[in-house]
């Protein structure tokens, strides 16, 4: 487990909805518009960065989210990753990409807070204060969206049916957490 303090320390259960902050996991932001970038990422992570908008790719260890035509976010699916795992992955990426001028690698592990939402009422909750149309999003496993939730910038990753990972900037996480819990009471 990584060694910084989670801003949210509780798990909440509501009618058909469970909300919890996932312990700090490895998150790395990638930017590149170079051609060899994809193959390099494929070599290191054994997954290719998705080219199609609003989608993701992944395997057992990592998820790779599309953020823009030249930006992606890696996050680890393993909450037991240690600080050494993080340093190893970051160094691998840095040496293959940043050092060779193939793009930028930024460690954002403590920049984003990941909140996991489970249950049949997820989209009822989000739709209370989000302008995004979830109609196609919820049908497609692995879809990704960057939008605003209660005026806070978020990234959402549709993990599975009725399961979603929500990324929010750390300084906004407490505020959004309070909003989520407040809204969940009225579902």
């Amino acid at each position: 487990m990584l060694s910084f303090n989670p801003p949210i320390k509780e798990e909440k259960n509501y009618n058909d909805l469970k909300i919890v902050e996932i312990e700090p996991t490895i998150k790395i932001n990638l930017r590149s518009n170079k051609r060899e970038f994809s193959t390099k990422i494929g070599k290191i992570l054994s997954i290719l960065p998705p080219n199609e908008a609003n989608t993701s790719s992944g395997n057992e260890s990592y998820s790779l989210l599309w953020l823009s035509p030249d930006e992606w976010l890696i996050y680890s699916n393993n909450i037991n990753d240690t600080l050494d795992n993080q340093i190893e992955l970051e160094n691998n990426l840095f040496n293959e990409i940043s050092k060779l001028n193939q793009g930028a690698v930024t460690n954002v592990s403590d920049h984003w807070v990941m909140i996991n939402l489970k249950g049949t009422k997820i989209f009822d909750l989000l739709s209370k204060s989000c302008p995004f149309n979830f109609k196609d999003f919820k049908k497609k496993k692995g879809s990704v969206v960057q939008t605003v939730l209660n005026h806070v910038d978020v990234i959402m990753h549709n993990k599975d049916q009725n399961e979603l990972n929500l990324f929010v900037r750390r300084s906004f996480s407490e505020d959004l957490w309070l909003w989520i819990n407040d809204s969940a009471r009225f579902l």
Binding site: A53, N54, L67, S68, P131, F132, Q146, T147
Partner: protein, 91 residues
């Protein structure tokens, strides 16, 4: 409120975007040769017409990319969306 089709992300609510003003304003090639009035004209003066206008927009709460929009300011009807560097379509 209206829907904007981001050329990268697709249909999104207007609140996710910010408007960057009139598009296709070219920086003068020789700024030193301009008078103060001409420089002010380039720097500050925008058309702001009622009707069809060419604008730059940024998907600030999404992919953070810039692009161009042809929008009718009287009814917010969007006639075309095209990427930065592309020639404006004829409408």
């Amino acid at each position: 409120m209206f829907i904007i089709t981001c050329p990268y992300c697709g249909d999104r609510d207007q609140t996710e975007f910010s408007c960057g003003g009139e598009a296709h304003i070219e920086r003068p090639k020789q700024p030193t040769e301009l008078s103060d009035d001409e420089w002010a004209e380039y720097l500050f003066m925008r058309k702001n017409i009622k009707g069809v206008q060419f604008e730059r927009w940024n998907h600030s709460h999404g992919c953070r990319k810039w692009f161009n929009i042809i929008r009718d300011t009287s009814n917010d009807k969007i006639h075309a969306v095209y990427k930065m560097g592309e020639k404006p379509p004829v409408i």
